[in-house]
């Protein structure tokens, strides 16, 4: 799967299928600090991400 990351913008790749939560744990990202978006849809942490999918891991933390 292709993973689009922010801050700075970059790409990562992982083998699928995997649950969203597992993807985040492998990337060492706290689930509470990001949203995972496939296409334009928000996907939940128990959703399966397949090898052919592209997902955006969008941070939700701002400077306040």
């Amino acid at each position: 799967m292709k993973i689009l990351l922010h801050h700075p913008p970059r790409e990562a790749a992982l083998k699928g299928p995997k649950k969203v939560l597992q993807v985040l744990r492998e990337l060492e990202i706290l689930p509470d600090t990001v949203l995972v978006i496939r296409g334009e849809e928000l996907i939940a942490e128990d959703e399966i991400v397949n090898d052919s999918d592209t997902i955006e891991v969008r941070p939700v933390i701002s400077g306040g």
Partner: protein, 309 residues
């Protein structure tokens, strides 16, 4: 994962509430939390105009969207900080959002009005950018809101912002700041607006999720000047605690508010306000923070920068 309310497929889990929601139930939850804040804390009524501080980020655009959907009369206030491409994209997000909904807004450009962007101003006064930015935004937002007849200024501060700010204030025992850290700051002077934070019951992730579900196009990039900000360090610490013990942030902030209310009943906090001898705006000191900043800029940065006022 199923929605705890209607059993449809859930799209978000809220560990701090031990629940999960489908899109419609989540949307209802978010709106309910905002209404609960507005009514429960007596922030404002439908008869009052509400100025909304809008940066182009998720929190402020979500706040503006919810307030306008709830039928409040709003005016967007955007400060163009003059930080190159970041500020141009931010302002564009505000313009597109407002024009799609036919919502009125005002833009105050630091470069146009004061001759310099926030980065140069902060360098000129030898202060961290976020500190100078805070002083300039607070001053201008208050003045502009009142100029447009808006007695209330709403900002998009969320639970994470408030909990991390609280952590910073507690770590440094900043009693003065702790006294003022409230979702509602009454207008303790005729020249001050009432400041309110209707999103304080919602976590940052909940607000971002709602923005995505409602297809609100916000700026995802962070302000370049906020790199290395202490606020990120506090948020990171709290997020690690939250991951280990969901609900920590909520308990930390809400239990602080309970204690603050109890203290205020015993000894109400009356700010000792006078009018700044330089600009006439309310201040706790003889010269307000804004005029002190301007004074430093005039002494140290002229003639490289134009005078701020």
């Amino acid at each position: 994962m199923r929605c705890r309310k209607c059993s449809a497929k859930a799209i978000i889990r809220l560990p701090r509430h031990n629940t999960a929601f489908c899109p419609p139930c989540f949307s209802e939850y978010v709106t309910d939390q905002v209404q609960r804040a507005i009514k429960g804390d007596r922030m404002f009524g439908h008869a009052e105009g509400v100025a909304v501080a809008v940066s182009g980020g998720k929190d402020s655009l979500v706040l503006w969207e919810i307030l306008s959907r709830l039928g409040y009369r709003t005016l967007g206030l955007h400060i163009d900080l003059g930080i190159g491409e970041y500020s141009r994209i931010s302002q564009r997000k505000v313009e597109v959002f407002a024009s799609a909904r036919n919502l009125p807004f005002v833009v105050h450009s630091l470069r146009e009005n004061h001759g310099a962007g926030i980065t140069e101003i902060a360098e000129g006064v030898h202060r961290p950018p976020c500190s100078a930015c805070g002083v300039i935004k607070r001053y201008n937002m208050n003045v502009i809101a009142l100029q447009h007849g808006m007695p209330v200024l709403a900002t998009g501060h969320n639970l994470d912002d408030e909990a991390s700010r609280l952590l910073g204030n507690v770590l440094h025992w900043q009693d003065d700041y702790l006294d003022k850290q409230s979702p509602v700051l009454p207008n303790s002077h005729p020249k001050l607006v009432r400041k309110v934070k209707p999103l304080y019951r919602l976590a940052e992730r909940e607000i971002a999720a709602w923005a995505v579900l409602q297809k609100i196009d916000y700026i995802v990039d962070e302000c370049p000047n906020s790199v290395g900000s202490k606020m990120f360090v506090y948020k990171d610490a709290l997020n690690r605690l939250e991951d280990a013990a969901p609900g920590t942030k909520h308990q930390f902030y809400f239990q602080f508010l309970d204690r603050q209310k109890a203290r205020a009943q015993v000894s109400p906090i009356e700010p000792d306000l006078r009018e700044c001898v330089s600009c006439g705006q309310p201040s706790t000191a003889e010269i307000c923070s804004y005029c002190k900043l301007v004074g430093t800029l005039q002494r140290e940065a002229e003639p490289a920068l134009k005078v701020l006022k």
